[in-house]
């Protein structure tokens, strides 16, 4: 890798206890995140994909420090930031920020835009009132909003504008990593592109890394170089954009890819048949790819960049045979 390693998540687990019984004991755990390891490089966009409930948002929240890790470590530039006290000491959130899914909820409805964007500045940087105002106007300018937005309230903006305000707040302290938790899934399609392009522009300008959490494979293809697919709290496939989109190994990945909507009407029938075939394959081979508890298998190395949670027998088959295994 030519770029420096920025963030390394090592075997992260976030479990929620389920209490029950007479003494309110812990009877079980909900394994929201169960052994996830990812590495994010500087200036890179890392896509984390999965269906809802797969633990991708929890992973993102654990990385920014909103959720506590049950086990495992998160290293930021070589330092373990799993503990709250270390995060505070390092002013960690100055470097790692978050863009939230729903801009309607992530902007305080009772605060003016100037206060919302200035919040991280006030906490992490000591600026005079005037400097702060200039900075906020600059930030608004970066996301394509004028200074007249300063004294308005969030409800006076459209969804896309609101999300851009969220982006402006996230980049206010010049972070090195931004965790974007489904930043465009609450927006309509035309506005999605607008917000994504602003995010890309900012990335080029400030050399920011993104952890892009999404369930929308089309958007991820547009944004990300490295992709990890998550299912039931575990990673099922990790690789570059090419690995995932052109050589999917895991049946879950194949299923996800088949779900991308196609706009080519002429081949509607072919797509439909393809989808049915993928679904049939998924149902037939489900037991091979998941263990008896329904959890994904450990990741196997396929190439330098490509890892997938496929059964060992299949890896051997891959190594002996040539190219992709046909099902």
């Amino acid at each position: 890798m030519k770029n420096k390693e920025l963030l390394k998540v090592n075997n992260l687990r976030v479990h929620y206890p389920v209490r029950g019984g007479f003494w309110n004991r812990i009877v079980d755990n909900v394994k929201a995140v169960d052994g996830v390891s990812i590495t994010i490089h500087q200036g890179d966009t890392y896509g984390l994909i999965g269906e809802s409930g797969s633990g991708k948002s929890t992973t993102g929240k654990a990385i920014v420090g909103l959720e506590d890790a049950t086990k495992g470590n998160i290293y930021y530039q070589g330092m373990d930031i799993t503990k709250k006290s270390t995060r505070r000491k390092l002013k960690y959130n100055r470097e790692v920020q978050m863009i939230f899914q729903d801009p309607q909820l992530s902007l305080n409805p009772e605060k003016r835009i100037a206060d919302i964007i200035a919040e991280p500045l006030r906490n992490f940087e000591k600026l005079s009132k005037e400097e702060e105002k200039i900075r906020v106007i600059q930030l608004l300018d970066i996301v394509g909003l004028g200074p007249e937005a300063l004294y308005k309230y969030p409800h006076q903006f459209s969804g896309g504008q609101r999300q851009r305000i969220g982006v402006a707040r996230a980049v206010a302290t010049h972070p090195k990593l931004i965790v974007a938790d489904e930043p465009v899934s609450a927006l309509d399609l035309s506005v999605q592109a607008q917000v994504l392009n602003f995010m890309k522009k900012i990335q080029e300008k400030f050399n920011i890394s993104y952890l892009f959490i999404s369930h929308d494979l089309g958007v991820v293809r547009h944004m990300c170089n490295h992709i990890a697919i998550m299912n039931r709290g575990r990673l099922v496939e990790v690789g570059t954009k090419d690995d995932i989109y052109n050589h999917p190994m895991h049946i879950y990945t194949k299923r996800l890819l088949a779900a991308i909507p196609e706009t080519n009407v002429n081949q509607r029938k072919a797509h439909h048949e393809n989808r049915l075939a993928v679904e049939k394959m998924y149902q037939d081979h489900k037991s091979e790819y998941y263990d008896e508890k329904g959890e994904a298998l450990p990741l196997q190395k396929i190439s330098e960049t490509h890892f997938a949670a496929i059964p060992k027998s299949r890896v051997n088959l891959l190594k002996s045979g040539s190219g992709e295994v046909s099902d």
Binding site: V64, K91, N93, M98, L105, E110, K111, Q138, P147, Q156
Partner: protein, 315 residues
């Protein structure tokens, strides 16, 4: 990185001032403006507000000109003096004490105690609810058990007991004593709202922006429940007038010789007073009804002002 940002939008001081002014002109009206508009649209609420403020000012200023110890002296010559005479505009009670003066001083006492009680108990209840609801888990659990304990105490009986035990007390100690027992309703209301608010994303956003918990509680969450706070405080003010009045009515309120609305209403305990000497108790009763009505009208207008779907004013 820094450089590119600065070249991105270079602003001079004049530009900044100009832009700020421009932005201010585009700004949304403040909460107070909205509330004022709502009052203007609802004539009854506006009238209530003027009445309430004027009345409070009148009794506070008026009582400054009254010598209380002289007024409260028994004068047998004025035994149940009739109202609407030159010396006794509202008559006198069995001790020959003038009702009008008693009413003015008594209203001041009752209203100030109610105000103090509202401020102290609401402030405490709001803080308690905010902290309990925001931190949740063990904090919430233990704080709510304290609340449960306070709820099952028969507060009125305890207050009467304490008043009997304490050798001497005045309006301030009575206010503090009452505040111990009247914060629970507010705290429950605030907590339930904060539980919902603290799960919202803007709280997470504040956390990642590096704000401390106290800052998040009082600067982020509190403005979002301000409507609830305003309405609840107004209504508990009306309620608290009743608390002191009720206590004084039973004879356990302010020390003997201090007039209050409660002691005036207590005149109605006598059958003769009810039928013949109506002026001893009727003015205070009407006053309480008017005060509580006015406050509830104000509360209703405030509630509408803070909820944009219910507003009567048009902008």
């Amino acid at each position: 990185m820094q450089k590119s940002l600065e070249t991105g939008a270079q602003l001079s001081k004049e530009d900044l001032i100009k832009l700020s002014d421009e932005a201010k002109n585009n700004a949304t009206p403040s909460t107070f403006k909205i509330i004022w508009k709502e009052f203007k649209a609802d004539k009854m609420a506006l009238f209530s507000l003027i009445f309430l403020v004027a009345f409070i000012v009148f009794v506070i200023v008026g009582s400054m000109f009254i010598n209380v110890s002289q007024m409260m002296q028994t004068n047998i010559m004025n035994y149940f003096a009739k109202p609407f005479t030159s010396n006794f505009l509202l008559g006198a009670d069995a001790g020959g004490r003038p009702i009008l003066e008693q009413l003015i001083v008594g209203s001041r006492n009752s209203i100030l105690i109610a105000l103090g009680l509202t401020v102290i108990s609401s402030a405490f209840g709001i803080c308690y609810g905010l902290i309990s609801g925001y931190f949740g888990r063990v904090t919430d659990l233990s704080m709510q058990r304290v609340y449960d304990f306070m709820m099952i105490i028969p507060s009125f009986m305890i207050i009467i007991e304490i008043v009997n035990i304490i050798p001497n007390y005045n309006a301030i100690t009575l206010t503090l004593l009452l505040s111990l027992f009247y914060w629970m309703g507010t705290q429950r209301l605030i907590r339930s709202q904060v539980l919902a608010e603290s799960q919202k994303d803007y709280v997470s956003a504040s956390k990642t922006s590096g704000s401390s918990n106290l800052k998040i509680i009082f600067k982020q969450i509190m403005p979002n429940i301000s409507s609830l706070i305003i309405v609840d405080t107004t209504i508990s003010f009306a309620e608290n007038i009743g608390v002191e009045t009720g206590l004084s009515y039973l004879g356990f309120g302010l020390p003997v010789g201090t007039p209050s609305l409660g002691t005036l209403i207590a005149n109605a305990n006598d059958a003769d007073n009810i039928t013949i000497y109506w002026w001893t108790w009727l003015p205070a009763t009407i006053e309480i009804i008017l005060l509580c009505l006015a406050i509830s009208y104000i509360g209703a207008a405030l509630r509408r002002a803070t909820n944009s779907t219910q507003r009567r004013s048009t902008d």
